[in-house]
Symmetry: C2
Amino acid sequence: MKLEPLKIQHDLVAWLTVAGDKIRQSLTEELQVNTKSGRNDLVTNRDKEIERFYVNQIRTYYPEARIYGEEGLGDEINDLSGLIFFVDPIDGTMNFVKQKENFATMIGVYLDGEPIVGGILDVMAQRLVVGGPQTGVMLNGRPLSKRPSLDIKDGLIGVNSRMLSENINQVTDLIRLSSGARITGSAGVEFSQVIMGKQIGYISNLSPWDVAAGWAIASALNIEAHTIAGQRPSLLKREIIIAGIPTVWQNFAKLQS
Amino acid sequence: MKLEPLKIQHDLVAWLTVAGDKIRQSLTEELQVNTKSGRNDLVTNRDKEIERFYVNQIRTYYPEARIYGEEGLGDEINDLSGLIFFVDPIDGTMNFVKQKENFATMIGVYLDGEPIVGGILDVMAQRLVVGGPQTGVMLNGRPLSKRPSLDIKDGLIGVNSRMLSENINQVTDLIRLSSGARITGSAGVEFSQVIMGKQIGYISNLSPWDVAAGWAIASALNIEAHTIAGQRPSLLKREIIIAGIPTVWQNFAKLQS
């Protein structure tokens, strides 16, 4: 199998755009909302429809690939061998339900655990960031450049509400060193903010489909992603991820000792 | 003096729109950024230019009014008698500087301390909410209706980062009862979210110009604003304000005992 990152990137742009259109067109239709792991972990019929759309596209055009999807319509994934598409049909479902904005649809593509291409569409803002280490990164078709290094005091950091309120892993102390905290409620939107340079970091407890797209894109732009132990994201389980320009991880690591 | 709320509302729409245009057009120009009370309390030359524009308009068309402006180009206000325009030229200056979005320009108008009309423009989203108790509320020219009552568990609440991380006034406990916390970094954007029904509340430590526009609009829509003692905002000093649909205040008050 010959890997064609530009072809995959082209397909991601097409699929995410179609999915975004479907979601926006269906905003006036009634939504069936159910809970998953807890009362604030939501899933809707729209999440499942969009995941089904992605799974059909991937099975048709990349039959050799495996699929790791949030709503479980893909495969059971226990290792990272081969070509894997990580699919999050609606990231920030709470925002989708309550705000009708500030949510994303996204896909990350990896080969043997190495990032190839990712795409994140902020559906209502119609901002599509796509790219990877071999293809470069674009925002709505225009190139984005590597993020400059900044002091921790000069940037905003997106965080998880519980980590901030309980100072988990000294995240609250880290925020005090920065320009401030933001809470958006969508990993996709938060990664996009970092990729566009509107925040210098994002720290949260994330599932593989929350991380895969953002990390694939970010890794082309001087943006890192670490576990609390300083390792790469495992992409196989839910874990705390520190993403951002290098200064974010350096300051986070210093606060752990 | 005969009070004409619709005339004032008309003028707010015009001035906020012009100010928004000025700010957007100047986004590519270099910004002079200075700090005020601390390293994360920013002011720019743009804040001052826009406040000067508002002050000139108000002095011309409402010469009898007094002006309470964030950047101090208005009057010194120690009581609420007569007609007062509360002016915040750029609310969320940190976002303006770092994100180039998620900031607002806003004006609230009060007569003897009673809300008459307010207007908030989310400058980059180009969302203008305007209105008051006698004129009704509009979003970009379309009427908004009163907010329905919701259980605390069914809505998102905007908060101040420090109040969330230190559980000040049990705000963290309140958030646990809700659908979750959001941190935007602009009081104007947060009030707009509540007015549009995307959040059920907003709790923060706010100056008079942060509160005035939002409270004037919100008071027409079944949205309340209280101090921690359960009183109306004083509009004369910085204080913690609990704004939202009635259930937010009820749950907040219960947690104080």
